[in-house]
Symmetry: C2
Subunit: 373 residues, 2 copies
Amino acid sequence: MELHQKSLTDAERIDWLRLIQTKNVGPRLFAELLSRLGNATQALEALPGLVRRGGVRRKFTIPDRQRAETEMAALGAIGGRAIALCEPEYPETLAAIADPPPVLFVIGDVSRLSAPSIAIVGAHNASSNGRRFAENIAAQLGEAGFVVVSGLARGIDAAAHTGALASGTIAAIAGGLDVVYPPEHEELQRRIGETGAVVSEQPLGTRPTARHFPARNRLISGLSRGVLVVEAALKSGSLITSRLALEQGREVFAVPGSPRDPRCRGTNDLLRQGAILTESAADIVDAVSSQVLKYRSPERPLVLLQPIERKEETEPTLDHEKIIELLGATPTGVDELVRECHMSAAAVQSTLLELELAGRVERHPGNRISLIL
Amino acid sequence: MELHQKSLTDAERIDWLRLIQTKNVGPRLFAELLSRLGNATQALEALPGLVRRGGVRRKFTIPDRQRAETEMAALGAIGGRAIALCEPEYPETLAAIADPPPVLFVIGDVSRLSAPSIAIVGAHNASSNGRRFAENIAAQLGEAGFVVVSGLARGIDAAAHTGALASGTIAAIAGGLDVVYPPEHEELQRRIGETGAVVSEQPLGTRPTARHFPARNRLISGLSRGVLVVEAALKSGSLITSRLALEQGREVFAVPGSPRDPRCRGTNDLLRQGAILTESAADIVDAVSSQVLKYRSPERPLVLLQPIERKEETEPTLDHEKIIELLGATPTGVDELVRECHMSAAAVQSTLLELELAGRVERHPGNRISLIL
């Protein structure tokens, strides 16, 4: 089964939605479940058994189909769509990141998601100069055929969207598509949906909290060929977005500013670290035109392996307890774990997947794992 | 004869002064004459013959000794000194450039010329922010043990000198030591001479004109381990200084600024070309502390070769006319000339030296030469 560019039926899409909305299932675990079990429908059926084997005693029911159908209808009612990672309309740049959202909710012109795009982000408390710069360069990038992506925040984000409204800009938001944050951007969000697109990976009704913003930031950089940072203090959210961009193999651009303005410390620091100095749209167009798209036609992260052999037992086996014993609160490398527990790598991975679904272990970057105490 | 670090007698120093003040003799030709004729006194004696062989028909008298002695006395009267390139007090960093002034005039503390130094240059019409930045960073560099070098111009230069007054700053000026330009910096120039030093390669009484400033700029960078540019428009004098610094193997530092301010275009462009981004003195101290001084203990550019054999004839010979015939207004490579004229390289060089002294040919960078029509 080739998951790349396969359109789903409505029923299949409902199952994708149910699976990603399952407790303890994030983008990475979703991909692992699909690669082991073939498709979302089969993964959902296998869930109760996997969770029990992972050590959860109470009854586990798979997420409600009715509820997912209701959500999909509500999405349709506000003019939204859900696009699955395997579908041709899913943006290729976003599909190429390590943890793409399995389902992306979109209001607006879905075709804008596949046009070459540049993210513009920066300080919420931006200077008047910074806002004007962002608005102008966004307009220029729009005229040059780029879609401007940003996060609908106050300051630089809002200025960038405003400058690029005419050319169709993309807002990646942290909450549900029917939630406006910050509230004063209601009109702006509506207008973006008319000429461009508003995207989110969160279910309708989700009010954004602190944990949603870093996830949203990876969408901003993931949707883009490069990220331009216009005014950013040290340790600001924009710098997180630029770090994610680098991890995703995207270009980072930064606008220089006076050392006397704390809002330029972050951008100057990016320049010191090798970001491309940007004074006008030409600086960006020049850099991305000569860019070799590392993420072009990638192998999408969902690759189907042989489905695991489903064992009869549903109770935790000796394997699970052996691994639990070896783990602690400090993350341990999975490779190390495999060496220490005298099990095959495949058996360790299956066991970890079940423990993760059961909420007993946590994944960390660098293929490391820790016990949730 | 070893020209490196040899103190001169007063009479010898007078002859150095007479030779460099001879018509058509600049720093490079001065070095060539010394290397061919052994010392300034012998070079002066040979001059009339060389000039006649170069094709000047009118009577040539060597520069007047009395006049040079008077100038030296006038220099002493205002507290100044003349330091020759071969003397131990001549700053090593300046001696290492391609065309060091053979004689440097100094008022103030000569020992400051040999301390580690950083030049600070920038726009004359600098912003208030830029001036404050220059003054603060100059003070910090002074506290960190660096001598701040600048050009006594309006704007950034004046701010840098002011900030570094307490630690002893060096002003390299375009006119004579007894001329103040711009006039409003009379008090500043006097104060610099008290705690630091004012240097010039021009004779007393010289009023600076356009041609003196690029020559002065090479002194600023030549005296320094690195040049910091604070605010500079595109195509400004500060960018010339930074280009000279690169040619001299010195580090270039630049302060980032808003793309909306034309006074930051030049500095941002330097950053794009690889200048070190500078927000505080620490950025400079870090960079030069780890610097390998390429110009440390260099072979001084004056190396004595065998004196040329003095021919009897004083009239232009066939050689001279052959070379004149091959040259035109467009610069030609000397190597090419040697190949075309069927003379030895040494003979071509001697002939060119005579033609140059006679004001008939002009040297260009890259060992090229053109006819003065």
